[in-house]
Structures are given as structure tokens and as C-alpha cells.
């Protein structure tokens, strides 16, 4: 079975890193992953989108997903159309207050996460993307939480190693937000 996540936000929110972390974590677990990024060419500060698909056999998924099982909305801009592709019952993580969690289709399961507040609370203000990821993974169990942290560390370039701990805290904080709200 293949499970799809689409992530949508604006450049600078860590969308690509979040998606890459999840895909790498799944890969390190020996599963098949796909990560398709879409960041409008040379434009800066523009839309940033990513899709992650994870499965236990070689994937059939298209790099532009016709439908998805879940989504993370990091920003209300550039989000048009994404909701329409979610299958009924789809899981949504909505980054409040940038995203209004009440604006979604009734057949979706929406979880509001105030990622910035949670990130600041664990002194990881740069890591709100990881909060969203932590929340998402807590909801979906896409990968083992430990795999997520390991993948995040693996992706850090040497000169950013110092962020490993705060990112890990952000992931955990994200998980905590939904475990409470769930």
C-alpha cells in the first residue's frame, strides 16, 4: 500500500527539508519512498510544495499526485487545489494561525498545530517545519519516530550540526501537540 503526503507552503518554511526528512527516514527503514518537489524555478520566496510517497514495494505513484492520503498545510498561500486532491478521510495538519483549520472539507480529518509557538516553546524557533513533521508522523505513524530524528541528523550539513538537538526537540514537540489534541 502506498501512502501519500503533500506539503504546501512558501519558500523558507522548511517545506523541502521536512519532506526530505520523512522520505529519508522511510528509506532508512528499508521501504520505498518518493519525494517530488515543486519550487517554481528561479523565483525566490515563492510557492514551495513537496509530495512524499511511502510504500513497501516499488512505487507506482506519479510524481504529480492525482490524489493523496494526507497533507500538511504550512501556509495559506499557494494552497489552492491541494485540498481537492485529498481523498475522503484524508489527514490534514494545519499550521495555525497561518492556516485556518476550519476552512477544510468536512470529510477530512484536520489537526491544528501552532507550529511556531510550539517551536519557540522548545527554543527551536527556526524549526517550525519539524514541529509540523513531528505532529504529522505522530498522527500517521508513517515512520518510526526515532527514524525521523536519525534522518534529520543525517541531512544536517556539518556546519549545522548544532541544530540537531533543537530540531529533535521540535519533532518531539510536534508529536506532543497532536497527542494532546488527538
Amino acid at each position: 500500500m502506498e501512502r501519500e503526503l503533500v506539503v504546501s507552503g512558501v519558500g523558507g518554511q522548511g517545506i523541502q527539508l521536512l519532506a526530505k526528512t520523512l522520505a529519508l527516514a522511510a528509506t532508512r527503514e528499508g521501504r520505498y519512498a518518493m519525494l517530488a518537489a515543486d519550487y517554481g524555478g528561479e523565483m525566490r520566496g515563492g510557492p514551495s510544495k513537496a509530495a512524499v510517497v511511502v510504500g513497501d514495494a516499488p512505487l507506482q505513484a506519479l510524481p504529480i499526485l492525482p490524489s493523496a492520503w494526507s497533507a500538511i498545510f504550512a501556509h495559506h498561500r499557494f494552497a489552492e487545489g491541494v485540498q481537492d486532491r485529498l481523498r475522503p478521510g484524508g489527514i490534514v495538519v494545519a499550521n495555525t494561525p497561518l492556516v485556518d483549520p476550519s476552512g477544510f472539507r468536512p470529510d477530512l480529518r484536520v489537526f491544528a498545530v501552532d507550529a511556531m509557538t510550539a517551536a519557540k516553546a522548545v527554543e527551536a524557533p527556526q524549526a517550525s517545519g519539524f514541529v509540523l513533521l513531528g505532529a504529522y508522523n505522530a498522527l500517521t505513524r508513517m515512520v518510526e519516530p526515532a527514524a525521523l530524528v536519525a534522518a534529520m541528523e543525517e541531512l544536517l550539513p556539518p556546519y549545522r550540526r548544532q541544530h540537531a538537538e533543537s530540531n529533535a526537540r521540535a519533532i518531539a514537540a510536534g508529536a506532543a501537540t497532536v497527542e494532546v489534541s488527538a
Binding site: 528561479e42 523565483m43 525566490r44 520566496g45
Partner: protein
């Protein structure tokens, strides 16, 4: 104490510098700390100061500055990567009364189109070529060009440019200066305010050379590319001074 700078001063004052040259039609989207918009500004100011705005055609190559085509209120041919001097030649020969300039990067001029600029210079083509030299392919994400200085790390020379493997940087202005058709050749840099003003004087002389019908003119302008250099924006100017400006030197190479 922070001074209110949200509007013009209330005390009597004379405006001595405006936000942007009036020939700009909109915002650019280049990176923070990029030197190219500064070069664009002085180029457009020179066109205005020489009063040739309505008899000028620009030919713009491929690089981050390519997006200036959208915001320069000047007639422009956006040409193929590296080919601006050839296109400019065709334009100038057909419209000798128009001032024709090119706007190119180091990737555009020193890599893909080294031949075009040298041949145009040898031909003594009466055009003005402007090279924005940041020592990398900025637009494609920071790979090594022919002007990357030794030791510089780029995405295709990750351990730094090594002369054994990657060769030596090419001083384009010097090559051009050695050709007999060149009438004005100079190299400037926009890493300081004084440098910007000097570069502007160079551009002015280059266009004046063309207006005088004296032959080929070229101004190479060293510009910061903090994105491609992987340095903080604030360090761009000093990094440039310690690397590119050291390697290439600033000044006039040919005046006639």
C-alpha cells in the same frame, strides 16, 4: 535614538539621492546582497546622464541579470547565452546611430561566449559590453565558471578550485584590452560606495567612447554573489575584495 525615516524630513532639506533610477519599471527578484542590481542602477543612470535613453538598445544574456529585461525601460533583445556581442554587432551595423550595449555575466561572457566578445573587440565593433563578474554561475546555483578564483568552493569544485584540475581564472578585461580594436577597457567593482561610483565613471566613459565612434568598449564589473559563494550577505564585499579584486585588480586598462 532611532530617527524616523518613514517619510521626507520636515526640516528644510535637499534630496540628493533617490530610491531607484527612473528607468526601472518594477522590482527585481535577485538575492539579498547581490551586486548585480547595483550595477544595473549605475548603468541606467549613465544612459540618462548621457541623454541617450531614447536611442539605446540593450542586449542581455543569460544569468540572474537576465530578469532585468523585465524591469529596464530600454529597448532590449534578450539573446542566447554568450551571444550578446554578436547580436549587438548586427544591431549596431544596421543602426549605427543607436547606442548598443550588452549585459552579460562571467558565465555568459567568459565561458559560453568568450569568443564572441574577443572577436567583437578585435573587430573594433563600436559597441559597449558590460560584464557582471561574480565568479560563478549564479542563476543555476553556483557552479564554477572560467573566472572563479583559485581556491573558491563551488558546486562543481567542492574542494575549491584547484589549478591542477580546473585551471586558472581568465581575466577577460585584460584579454580584451590586449586587442587593437579596443578603445576603452576597464574593470570596476561594486563592493564599496567609492567602487560603485568609480564603476559608474567607467561605464560613462565606455558609452562616451561609443558615442565618439572610437571603437570597442568593455567594462567588467566585479559583483557580489553571496548565494553562489556560500557566504553571509554582509561578508560579500570583504570576501570579494580579498578574492576577486585581489586576483583581477581594479582600474582602467585601455583609454584612447
Amino acid at each position: 535614538m532611532i530617527i524616523d525615516t518613514s517619510g521626507p524630513p520636515v526640516l528644510p532639506a535637499k534630496q540628493v539621492a533617490d530610491f531607484k533610477p527612473s528607468l526601472l519599471l518594477g522590482e527585481h527578484s535577485l538575492c539579498p546582497g547581490c551586486g548585480e542590481p547595483v550595477a544595473l542602477r549605475i548603468l541606467l543612470e549613465v544612459l540618462q546622464e548621457l541623454d541617450i535613453v531614447q536611442r539605446t538598445i540593450g542586449v542581455v544574456g543569460h544569468g540572474c541579470y537576465g530578469s532585468f529585461v523585465r524591469i529596464m525601460d530600454v529597448d532590449v533583445l534578450q539573446c542566447l547565452h554568450g551571444r550578446a556581442p554578436a547580436c549587438a554587432t548586427g544591431i549596431k551595423r544596421v543602426r549605427p546611430g543607436v547606442a548598443v550595449f550588452t549585459l552579460q555575466g562571467d558565465g555568459d561572457m567568459a565561458n559560453e561566449g568568450l569568443q564572441e566578445v574577443l572577436h567583437a573587440a578585435a573587430r573594433g565593433e563600436n559597441i559597449t559590453c558590460v560584464m557582471l563578474n561574480n565568479g560563478v554561475f549564479g542563476d543555476t546555483g553556483g557552479q564554477q565558471t572560467a573566472t572563479t578564483v583559485l581556491g573558491q568552493r563551488t558546486k562543481t569544485s567542492i574542494d575549491g578550485r584547484d589549478p591542477e584540475l580546473h585551471g586558472y581564472p581568465i581575466p577577460v578585461a585584460d584579454l580584451v584590452a590586449s586587442l587593437r580594436g579596443s578603445a576603452y577597457v576597464a574593470r570596476g567593482a561594486v563592493s564599496t560606495a567609492a567602487g560603485v561610483l568609480q564603476a559608474k565613471r567607467m561605464l560613462r566613459k565606455a558609452f562616451q567612447t561609443q558615442l565618439d565612434g572610437a571603437g570597442f568598449s568593455l567594462v567588467e564589473i566585479l559583483t557580489m554573489c553571496p548565494t553562489g559563494w556560500f557566504v553571509p550577505t554582509a561578508e560579500g564585499p570583504t570576501y570579494q575584495q580579498g578574492t576577486m579584486e585581489q586576483t583581477y585588480g581594479i582600474g582602467e586598462l585601455v583609454t584612447r
